[in-house]
């Protein structure tokens, strides 16, 4: 008898993130219905699925921005606390990148990247700005350090936002549709920065509709529908040989194969 379960290379390690029976409702509406998932260190995990299926809700609960109603998140072996002052200590170890960038408009690119360490980690300003310069170079924006967000393109703003998240030296990066608000011509520059981070071995959880990116970069893909996990597996399986009919339909709608 052959083992038909898909291979998950990272699965020999201790999980970095575990969701156990997570639930979330908005009034009578169940947004997340008993979700249990595991994310291992160094993995790139893509969340895909139709709009409204709960992907963002799961991501926002991961760092406690919008806490779950039931179940728990275990991060690096410890249950995510609920008390605001405790959850903050965990949250700073997770970086988050938003669909609308959410750069701080009253701060320059450099200040946007430096502000996390300065306010949260009490890093010396000069040192934080030196680190910020290195991170801006990493995302290819050294020459834009003194620009305000309003003077940057969408793709550039999102790259600054990625640098801002990296500045806290997070153990996991959470991306919520990082390219959905971008003009088509600037999507590529953001995806290549993300690809480079993946190649460094960073743990990344990415909500995305960029299927070719997910196919190419993800180690593991999780398909959501109506607050439930429809199917999960390596990208080859999800994109080439999905086992669930609804996955095929969803990918078909996106024009995938």
């Amino acid at each position: 008898m052959t083992d038909t379960s898909p291979i998950r290379r990272a699965a020999t390690q201790r999980p970095l993130l575990e969701y156990k029976h997570v639930r979330k409702s908005f009034g009578a509406f169940t947004a997340l219905d008993d979700i249990s998932l595991t994310i291992y260190p160094g993995e790139v995990v893509c969340f895909i699925g139709p709009s409204g299926s709960g992907k963002s809700t799961l991501l926002r609960g991961t760092n406690g921005l919008d806490p779950f109603d039931g179940g728990e998140v275990i991060f690096d072996g410890l249950v995510l606390p609920r008390k605001p002052s405790d959850v903050r200590k965990v949250r700073r170890r997770m970086g988050m990148v938003f669909q609308n960038f959410e750069l701080f408009p009253h701060k320059t690119a450099l200040q946007n990247v430096a502000i996390g360490p300065i306010t949260v980690l009490n890093t010396d300003k000069a040192e934080a700005e030196q680190q910020a310069m290195i991170l801006l170079a990493k995302v290819g924006l050294s020459d834009k350090a003194d620009n305000y967000p309003v003077n940057l393109s969408g793709g550039q703003q999102q790259r600054v936002a990625i640098a801002r998240a990296l500045a806290m030296q997070p153990e996991v990066l959470l991306f919520d549709e990082p390219t959905s608000a971008l003009d088509p011509e600037t999507i590529g520059e953001v995806l290549s920065v993300m690809k480079a981070l993946a190649d460094e071995g960073r743990t990344m959880v990415i909500v995305t509709h960029e299927m070719s990116f997910a196919r190419r970069v993800a180690d593991w893909v999780i398909v959501f529908e109506r607050g439930k996990v429809l199917e999960e597996g390596p990208p080859e399986q999800i994109f080439e040989a999905p086992t669930v009919e609804r996955t095929k339909e969803f990918l078909g709608h996106l024009g995938w194969a």
Binding site: R60, N63, L65, P84, S85, R88, K89, R91, R92, M94, G95, M96, F98, N100, E102, L103, F104, P105, H106, I115, G116, T119, V120, V150, R164, A165, M168
Partner: protein, 219 residues
């Protein structure tokens, strides 16, 4: 009908004192109504329902009553409520502060609320506390939106200080109207009043326009 403008010149000292009093009243009112407005705005958005309700009642009361009524009301009611005898000046100042701090509270609240929730999330996601988010992210952005409105309020306040003349506070209007009724030089005094108010008010209005332009939010 002959006009005798010398009456204005003869009383220049008194008018200057009145004008100075108008400025003092404006500055003091704003100086008190800004911090009070901030306190009221924070009460309004606080999670303690009692505080929020208290602030809301205060704001909705004083924002929706004519200022002149608040002035009269202060004049007659404050002596009943507190045993201390306030001067007309202090009474007028209290009335102005009650009214303007209610306006300012709404200005600050609107400014804070105008910063979209995503900005708070971005700050919290970095690990900031609510307090740090308020200080580093929300207030600096709110300030840009609040300042032009405060400037407009200032310009209105400068003119509205004339209303406290009804309780004999010796600011420009009161002084000028006193001279008018003693000299019967009605047209001269009213014209002089208009000219002095305009000369003082115009630069302020221009400054306010400049502030509005400079702080226009581009996003």
């Amino acid at each position: 009908m002959t006009l005798d403008w010398s009456i204005v010149w003869l009383n220049k000292g008194l008018l200057a004192e009145g004008a100075l009093m108008t400025i003092v009243l404006t500055v003091l009112t704003m100086g008190l109504a800004v911090p009070l407005g901030i306190v009221l705005a924070f009460m309004r958005i606080s999670k303690w329902r009692g505080l929020a309700l208290l602030s809301q009642c205060f704001v909705e009361l004083f924002r929706n009553i004519p200022l002149i009524l608040i002035v009269y009301w202060s004049f007659y009611v404050i002596p009943i409520l507190v045993p201390v005898q306030f001067s007309a000046f202090t009474t007028g100042l209290i009335a102005l502060v009650l009214c303007v701090s209610a306006y300012n509270a709404e200005t600050f609240r609107a400014g804070i609320n105008s910063v979209r929730a995503g900005q708070t999330n971005a700050g919290l996601a970095l690990g900031m506390s609510q307090f740090q988010v308020m200080k580093e992210i929300i207030l600096p952005q709110a300030a840009r939106r609040v300042l032009p409105i405060l400037a407009t309020t200032w310009v209105s306040l400068f003119k509205d200080t004339s209303l406290v003349s009804v309780i004999a506070v010796g600011e420009l209007s009161h002084v000028a109207l006193q001279i008018r009724s003693q000299s019967f030089r009605v047209l001269e005094m009213l014209t002089a009043m208009a000219v002095i108010y305009w000369m003082m008010g115009y630069p302020q209005a221009k400054l306010s326009d400049w502030i509005r332009k400079k702080f226009e939010v581009k996003e």
